[in-house]
Symmetry: C2
Subunit: 222 residues, 2 copies
DNA sequence: TTACGGATTACGGTTTTCCATAAAATACTG
DNA sequence: CAGTATTTTATGGAAAACCGTAATCCGTAA
C-alpha cells in the first residue's frame, strides 16, 4: 500500500472526501495542494529530501482566481510530474468525460488510473487505489472505459487548433488566411484552408462550420 | 435555524461536505436526493404530510446517466419547488459562474442564496445558512456578487434560444425554418430568421454566426 | 370603415462559404 | 535524371448566408 501521497485538488469538498478515503486505507502521510504549482513544488522538494511521494491524486481542471500560476491544469501537472519522477503512481480524478482527453492521459502521460467524479466516485477511487498499489494494472471508471478502445486517430495539429480558435473568435476564413500569410504559417491558401476545414468537419462529424466549432468547444480542445 | 432540510446533489463528495456542515449547525433532520425528480417528490410528499421542508440546498447541473428523468437540471427543480412551496428557503450551490444564469435565479426563482463551489465554498455555505435562516436577506458568494449588478436586460426570448441551439447542433438556417413551420412556431420566414440573427449578433457584438454561437455557449445561454 | 404603426414576409443583390476539379509545386523513387 | 506520388495552390460554379428595401398582414384607434 502507498506510504506517502500528494493530492492536487482545489475544491474543499473533494479534498475532504479523498482524505476520508485515505483514512480508510490507514494512509496518514499525505498532503494536499489547492494549486498545481504548489503540488509540483512539494513533489520536487520531496525528491530532493529523498522522501519522494509514491502516489499523486490529481484533479484536471482548476479554477482560476487572482493568483498567477505557471501550471494551470492537471494535465500539465501530470505531464511534468511524470517527467520528473517516472516511477510515481498517478490517479487522475476528474469530472472530465471526453474520450480524447482521457485517452491522451493514459497514452502520453501514462497515468495509472482514471477515476470519474460522479455518483459513485468514492467507491471507484478505493478500487483504483487498491488495484494500482500492488500491481502495474490500470484502472478506469466503467462509465468511461470505452475511451480506451477508441481507435484511429487522425492527428489534429496546431494549425487546426489555431483555425478553430480564430473561427470561434469571429474571424472569417479570408481573414485567417491573411493572418497566416503575415505570420508566415505554411499552408495558407484558400484551398488549403477549405481542405483543412473539410477534413475537420469529416473527422468530427460536423454538418457545417458552426457545428464544428460547437463540437470542438464542447470537447475542450479550443 | 432550519429544522428540516432537503439536499439535491448528485456528487458524493458534495453531499458529504453538506452533511458535515449541517452537523455543525446541529441540524439532524435532513435528507438528500441524487436526482432532481427524487428531490421534488420528497418535497411534495412532505407538504402532503404536513411536515414541509424549510430549506432546499440544490446543485444546478446533474450528470445524465442511464436513468430517465423528468427534471434534468437544478434550475428547473428550483423553479418548480418555488411554485409548489413559495415560502421555502432555497440555496443554489453550484460551480456555475455565469452572471446571466445567477441573476436569473435570483430574479425569476427568487432563490435566497447562491453559493459558488470552489476553494472556500464550505465557509460560504455556512454564512449563507446563518444569514438566510433568520432574515429575508439574500446571500451570494463574493466572487460572483457582481452578477447582480449587471444591468441591461435581455430581450432574448425562447425562440432566440431555440435558434441558437439548433445552429450549434449543426442545423442550417433553412432547416430551422422548416422545423419551425412544421412545429408551428410563429415567425418562421427567412427574413424573420435573418433579422433575429442580425439582432442577436448586434446585441452580443458578434462578427458572424459562428462567433455568435461561440459567445452564447461561453455565457451558458445555450 | 379607414388610417396608422408595428410586425412579418418577400425579394434582389452582394459576400462568404462550400465543393469539385485541375494546375502547379514539391517530394519521393528507381 | 525521368517518372510518379503527394501536397499545395488556383479556378469556377453552386449553395448558403448576409443585408437593405419594399410589400403585406394585422391590431388599434380615430
Amino acid at each position: 500500500m502507498f506510504k506517502k501521497v500528494i493530492i492536487a485538488e482545489d475544491f474543499e469538498e473533494f479534498n475532504l472526501a479523498i482524505k476520508q478515503t485515505l483514512n480508510d486505507f490507514d494512509i496518514v502521510n499525505f498532503q494536499h495542494a489547492k494549486y498545481c504549482d504548489d503540488a509540483f513544488l512539494k513533489i520536487r522538494k520531496a525528491i530532493q529530501d529523498n522522501e519522494p511521494y509514491d502516489l499523486l491524486i490529481s484533479d484536471l481542471s482548476f479554477k482560476q482566481d487572482h493568483r498567477e500560476v505557471k501550471i494551470g491544469s492537471g494535465d500539465e501537472l501530470i505531464e511534468k510530474v511524470r517527467e520528473l519522477q517516472p516511477n510515481i503512481k498517478i490517479i487522475a480524478y476528474s469530472i472530465e468525460d471526453k474520450n480524447v482527453r482521457i485517452k491522451s492521459l493514459f497514452e502520453n502521460s501514462e497515468i495509472n488510473a482514471f477515476v470519474l467524479k460522479g455518483r459513485n466516485s468514492i467507491e471507484d477511487l478505493k478500487k483504483a487505489i487498491t488495484l494500482i498499489s500492488n500491481s502495474d494494472q490500470k484502472f478506469i471508471s466503467p462509465e468511461v472505459a470505452s475511451a480506451l478502445q477508441e481507435k484511429g486517430n487522425y492527428e489534429i495539429d496546431d494549425v487546426d487548433i489555431k483555425i478553430l480558435k480564430y473561427l470561434s473568435a469571429g474571424t472569417s476564413q479570408d481573414e485567417i488566411i491573411e493572418i497566416f500569410k503575415t505570420s508566415d504559417i505554411k499552408p495558407n491558401s484558400k484551398s488549403a484552408m477549405e481542405k483543412r476545414l473539410s477534413k475537420l468537419k469529416d473527422f468530427f462529424k460536423a454538418n457545417n462550420t458552426i457545428h464544428l466549432v460547437s463540437i470542438t468547444k464542447d470537447m475542450g480542445i479550443i
